[in-house]
Amino acid sequence: MRGYRRIKGKKNMMEHSVGQATTGQGASFAAVHRDKDGGLIVIMNSVEAPAPPKCIRPGCLLKYVIDTLTYALVLSYHARRVAYAEKNKGKKILQRYRTGEPSPKNLWQAIHANIKLKCPVCRRYDVDPLLFAGGK
């Protein structure tokens, strides 16, 4: 076994779902890249775009703006994460960068995840640069 651990025990690593917002046809995807020995390199799952607002109240519009910003940051995080995992094929890195789980769920988490991924020390030692006491 090389410098990373093979994922075992998770029944289905391709967990993604189609958005429910509109009538018609929707699509989602997942992809799992493995080396020739079956070791996991990276997993990608689709990320659903936020549903458009259904009212014009400031609260609805603000929610849509925040959701859209979160969506953009989550996409950015996954693009960086996948590139990082591919670049470090065969090396030991945090498993979350290979599996994509846990994925940021809100704006705050997305900001933290992006900053942490950009910081070599933080991603190496699994610490959050915005939470100085070793927060994760």
Partner: protein, 138 residues
């Protein structure tokens, strides 16, 4: 490139033909993409997908491993395509598309662009799954 996925208008039309019993073929083939895959688009077609269709060994158009219906919200409301690409030579894959069942497909049902290019070496695998749901929403 940005991670994105879309069913295509060409796929909608083929689905409509299948429902109407007109000349059409089912979703059965898959092809990997290479080159810049900026964004999956509804306007993509088999002739003009979001990126270049790969012709490399293991990634060229061919029969998908399995195409079945699964349940998302209602029984059998989603088509699920599973396939494992095994690299016969080095390639950087940037997305993939699912196509109809012609000897040379002419309809692209759906496509996706990956979050980043996936460089594969010989004998590495890329397992992919596409779900296309017939949605009943608001």
């Amino acid at each position: 490139m940005s991670q994105s996925q879309k069913p295509t208008r060409q796929g909608y039309a083929e689905t409509a033909k299948l429902v109407a019993g007109e000349a059409a073929t089912k979703c059965a083939k898959i092809v990997a993409y290479e080159g810049d895959c900026a964004a999956a688009s509804e306007a993509s077609t088999y002739a003009t997908p979001a990126a270049t269709k790969s012709t490399k060994s293991g990634f060229a158009v061919g029969a998908a491993n399995t195409v079945i219906t699964v349940t998302t919200s209602f029984s059998n409301d989603t088509v699920q395509v599973d396939h494992v690409f095994t690299a016969g030579e080095a390639a950087t894959i940037t997305g993939f598309g699912v196509c109809n069942n012609e000897a040379t497909p002419d309809v692209l049902f759906a496509e996706c662009c990956f979050a980043a290019g996936i460089p594969l070496e010989t004998a590495e695998t890329l397992a992919v799954q596409m779900k296309m749901m017939q949605k009943l929403g608001s």
